[in-house]
Amino acid sequence: MIPTLILNALAVSSLYIMMASGLALIFGLRRVMNFGHGAIYMVGAYLGYTIASGMNFWAALILVPLIMSVFGVLLELLVLRPLERRQQIEVALITFGIGIVIAQIVIRIYGGTPLSVSAPPLLASSVKIFGADYPVYRLFITVIGLCSVVALAVWLNATRTGMFVRAVSHAPDVSSMMGINADRLSLLISTLSTAFAGLAGVLVGPYLSIDPGMDVAMIITCMIVVVIGGTGSIWGAIFAALIFGFVQTFGTVYLHEISVLLPYLMLIGILVWRPQGLNFGGGAE
């Protein structure tokens, strides 16, 4: 039972990590919380459904992030960049509004009934782990989540562009005086962020369900994760996503009566303890 729960928690945390790290990266560069992130994830999931039924799951896994990266370009060029000098809250509200519109369009197209995608044959089986059958597909989600964290860490810490991203997140003014073009980085980060949201959307199909409320549920989770992690802190967000996945998974089983409240209780508890969030080192560090 417990090993299964741990694996479930890792799988769901992986989705949260893919979502929240993108949000934290954008926040680090632009100081804007993209409330439309949940809608991007939703579009990814529905597109994934269409491509998986029309072609196959693997095509969806590759095509959807590519298609969603176009949303990232639009986000940067039509929203973040023109509104750069506006107040954070205004831009955040605009992304919130755009998210609602996008979600409504998706519901118009696909209707309100939940959809499901089946796992590709290769991953549809289960394996024995500690004597219990465990679906391979969930392990697959965890592996992808782990790979994305490692890739992100390498990119941020071992490449020049990653270093520029850390510099701008930490000190935008100094970075600009040293010649770093934050707009170009922001375009890249927005693209990555929406591509990852699309990836999470495709992955969630065969695991949980695809339904009209998924964007809202996900954005609330992401907000809690990013705030707990310390806004703009990548590693804080990743760690918080992990904690969130575990609290949610174990809470549902062991504290069933209050499980829906747990994330909020955790949020309040951590913010009382550390008002700045977990925030390891601040910035995109």
Binding site: R160, A167, M177, G179, G283
Partner: protein
């Protein structure tokens, strides 16, 4: 037109005008010192070049390109680079990463990691340490090294010796003389007259957001300039 040409500049912060109709130019390879009391607007002048103030009037040209309407990051690409007051080293980046920030300018030249480490050997030893681990003198060396990595035509420095012991002032003076010898121009705001005299060709004195006068650095001690330093 000079390499760095500031003409009739009025700038400040928000609604406050700090600089009023200020003109100053620095040629390629030339070294100019800026003096003035606290609050005279010296930093505001330098920050205006790097897009950190609000420009109300006048123009700033670097290498013939008007930059006061361009994004802030462009100045460094065109050949001026900056060691700001307070050093502004990024504590979360290593010494080497701080230096490499300037590679964003894409400017090639004699200044690279090795050349900077030769100029300030202590930075080579500390290359992998985070910026937060350095002493005041080392932070300043890093700030100068970082600016040099942009291979500027004119290196701009704001109070490089602020808060440093006299022996470090000498070290920095030597370093700036080497920078000059390499053909790089300098625009330096500094309180130490000795440094200005040793490093620069000419000086200007600022008060209340304007340049009130100036002359050859070699003659700084002359009687005729005494009233300037009373401003």
């Amino acid at each position: 037109m000079s390499f760095l040409e500031i003409s009739d500049l009025s700038s400040g912060y928000g609604k406050a005008t700090i600089l009023r109709n200020l003109s100053l130019s620095v040629d390629r390879g030339e070294a100019v010192g800026v003096l003035g009391r606290n609050g005279a607007g010296k930093s505001t002048l330098l920050l205006s070049i790097f897009g950190q103030t609000r420009v109300f009037g006048g123009e700033i040209h670097v290498a013939g390109t008007r930059i006061d309407r361009l994004p802030a990051y462009r100045a460094a690409h065109l050949g001026v680079s900056f060691s700001p007051q307070g050093r502004m080293i990024l504590p979360n980046l290593t010494v080497q990463e701080n230096l490499c920030m300037s590679l964003a300018t894409g400017r090639k030249g004699d200044w690279n990691l090795d050349a900077v480490f030769d100029l300030f050997p202590i930075l080579r030893e500390r290359a992998r340490q985070p910026g937060v681990a350095l002493s005041g003198g080392q932070l300043q060396m890093l700030a100068i090294g970082r600016a040099l990595m942009a291979n500027p035509e004119v290196l701009v420095l704001d109070e490089p010796t602020e808060g440093l012991a006299p022996v470090l002032v000498d070290v920095l003076t030597e370093a700036l003389l080497k920078v000059r010898a390499s053909g790089t121009g300098i625009l330096v705001v500094e309180q130490h007259h000795a440094l200005i005299r040793a490093v620069t060709d000419r000086f200007v004195v600022m008060a209340k957001g304007q340049i009130r006068g100036g002359g050859d650095s070699a003659d700084m001690a002359a009687e005729e300039y005494a009233p300037l330093f009373e401003l």
